[in-house]
Symmetry: C2
Subunit: 448 residues, 2 copies
């Protein structure tokens, strides 16, 4: 299969691997030019990942934050969408291989395969503390969270019940902070009055962080504000606490003073480590490019690979630098605006090469950083021409809310999400508290 075979004689064929923020933006830009594009994505949708924690915590239905790739490019006849997994890249034959054995030839290639969880060498922890990258992850966390309260309502042994009402989030980056804050809100407000044998408000939500503060990417003053807001929401934050073991019944943490603590929990979420897609190392091996410890591929200033100007890497898979004239190159953070910008730069550079023009070096425009914590709680650090503008609390939360709805894909999705949030805000209710399983959690091996 060499799609689209008929058009390749006339027009350059660009293959984009992955439809996250980087791949999506690259394909959008390329689709408006006189080229053929094939976008290959392992799921059938683009995921608006900044709101994935809302699906995991039952605030939004999956379709509200996921748009089918095929629908996004329906009107673009020069774009072919393939739902497939790329298993190998052949830079010499200029083709990618799919899991089903098909080969797709390319003239130019953009690899935007993103990142996955890293358990720092403890892959066996994944079964007990799932991470949050895909919709399947979100459904699994939603199930564990809601089922823990359900099991506790049936349980008569106080110690076992205590474990069922203990929720542990590992890693206090943006995802960990959002998850812990929302879990505390659910325990204290959403479930109020629904149980007869337990008090959901007595649930403990722990946020465990190995470093000295939450939200490392933020300025220290905002980390302190975030910590304060988390505590007000009822989250127990453990700083300088390193996870040393995770099993089906709970986790162990080590303290800097050498002490250790065992925490029994039936619902643990991993938000601590990120690793590049395995495609990064495959690509580095095949092209002779370097990759860093997290498996990201080191790219040239124009995002292409050394010796392979026809291959670009963007988004979380790229170890890229921002090149601002007159300043030293600075590493680009793994955030969605950076992925979008890299996607656009890589696409523009391919079009420049096709016209025989020079490529541009990637320059990251940093508009700032924001993180939500819970109801009326967020921290915002905006980069403005006049310097940083910082806020926290209710105003920051409102800013976060409108920024996320603005960037959410599709008019319908924006409207529905706005409606869901408005109703959730006034009623403290969460719309998507549905778990499709019929299985009794007590009979599932993984919930011990």
């Amino acid at each position: 299969m060499n799609a689209p075979a008929t058009a390749r004689a006339q027009r350059p064929h660009i293959v984009v691997v992955g439809c996250g923020f980087g791949g999506l933006e690259a394909t959008r830009l390329l689709s408006r030019s006189d080229v053929d594009v094939t976008i290959i994505e392992r799921t059938n949708h683009h995921l608006f990942q900044p709101l994935l924690y809302q699906v995991a915590t039952a605030g939004l239905a999956a379709p509200s934050i996921a748009a089918p790739v095929r629908v996004l490019f329906r009107g673009r006849e020069n774009v072919t969408t393939l739902l497939a997994e790329v298993t190998a890249i052949d830079p010499h034959g200029r083709a990618v291989t799919l899991a089903d054995g098909n080969r797709i030839g390319y003239d130019h290639l953009i690899v935007a395969a993103g990142a996955t969880h890293s358990y720092f060498g403890h892959d066996e922890w994944a079964a007990h503390a799932p991470g949050l990258k895909t919709l399947a992850d979100a459904f699994e966390i939603r199930r564990r969270m809601l089922m823990s309260f359900e099991s506790a309502e049936r349980e008569s042994d106080p110690q076992r019940r205590r474990a069922m009402l203990t929720f542990a989030v590992i890693g206090a980056g943006p995802t960990g902070v959002e998850m812990a804050g929302t879990m505390a809100e659910i325990a204290r407000h959403t479930l109020a009055g629904e149980f007869r044998r337990i008090d959901p408000a007595s649930a403990q939500v722990l946020l465990i962080e190995g470093n000295t503060r939450v939200l490392q990417a933020m300025p220290e003053s905002l980390s302190a504000k975030a910590l304060d807001q988390l505590r007000k929401l009822g989250v127990q934050v453990r700083l300088n606490a390193r996870v040393t073991a995770i099993d089906a019944a709970g986790l162990s943490i080590g303290m800097p003073d050498g002490g250790s603590e065992r925490i029994d929990s039936h619902c643990m979420v991993w938000a601590a480590g990120v690793a590049a897609s395995p495609l990064g190392r495959l690509l580095a091996e095949a092209t002779g490019a370097e990759s860093d410890r997290a498996g990201r591929v080191l790219v040239q200033p124009d995002l292409s690979l050394p010796g392979h100007p026809e291959i670009s890497v963007v988004g979380d898979l790229a170890a890229a630098q921002s090149h601002v004239p007159g300043k030293a190159p600075a590493p680009v953070p793994g955030v969605s605006p950076a992925a979008k910008q890299m996607g656009r730069t890589a696409a523009r550079n391919i079009l420049a090469r096709l016209r025989g023009q020079a490529t541009e070096a990637f320059r990251y425009a940093d508009y700032g950083n924001l993180a939500t914590i819970g109801r009326n709680s967020a921290v915002v650090d905006l980069a403005t021409p006049f310097g940083p503008f910082r806020m926290s609390g209710r105003l920051a939360w409102q800013f976060w809310l409108f920024a996320h709805i603005y960037f959410l894909i599709g008019f319908r999705n924006r409207l529905v999400v706005l409606m869901d949030w408005a109703s959730a805000y006034w009623s403290f209710q969460r719309y998507a508290r549905v778990v499709p399983d019929v299985a009794d959690p007590a009979t599932r091996a993984d919930s011990a």
Copy 2:
């Protein structure tokens, strides 16, 4: 565990097993009286099953038709909700046993555990042709349907591609007719312009029925109209066709003339047979009641069991008769209005017994029958005091639409479903085309 232990000394304790239409209505009515109620459901939600085919065909998100049981009874302090599976009933000890070993004692028991699929002794067919009873079923069918088109887009072999574009629905009752009609609409309209190598409109949708007509429960004139509308939508209807084999690659049907036909298909849906929950036979064995061939429990006129006035059976699990004065008893059909009415009658009879009053015989109020077929297509057979009122086509479809939205639980759900349908109607689009899996269907064993 004998919940709620504190209150049992003062108030009668009624256990309701199952929160379908029958269990929900019974609990609602009982919750307004001076009794304690424990409702036990194996999922965490009440499912609005008449619209489940919309979740399966990507028209609605799961939370739009599923309401958490706990939320429905939040305000009723005398109702305890347990997410659990009942595995045994002890009529002599007056207790039910849960999968985790807990026993829940009762003074009165309503069993409303509903129905499941029946493959007529061929349980091995279930893996290849899932039925549609739960949200998990709906997600599985959605995945198979959408993934078939995706596989076809990657496939170069014309014969294999043909099989991927063949959809077979077995059984032409209301669910089968809805599924087939909607699948044809998706192939012809929803997916238009999205594929580059296949024409989704060339997909074949087959509806296979062993009997002489579709929608057996309808008058013959409406069956004929429904058949006509199905054919106009592009569905190939095979009547008098008996399924003789189903495997991963397709199915075989036998004709009345002795001939047979093999149909290669990657997406088959079972809508042919219904059997009562296994709890029916357990209950019959434990109480000495009779059960019919489908496993339903034969009940007394007042819906209680012979010799066990404290146990009632309602909904699809009950083989009940309608008792209209001056007429012969008539069997009650397995439809949601009948389940609701039985739930209310059983609850009223329990309250009557508690007051020492006589119970009433169940009387089914039949308001008629309606089935949707697809866009602007439905058949409606209303029972009015002046005789039957029948309609088909666009007007019938509008009637069906408003009836279903009216009966859908919760204001928010009604509004969102109305919005989704309005947008689907004008755009031909379907909102929930999201499949959480990242797996390549070509690598899954079950999709051959």
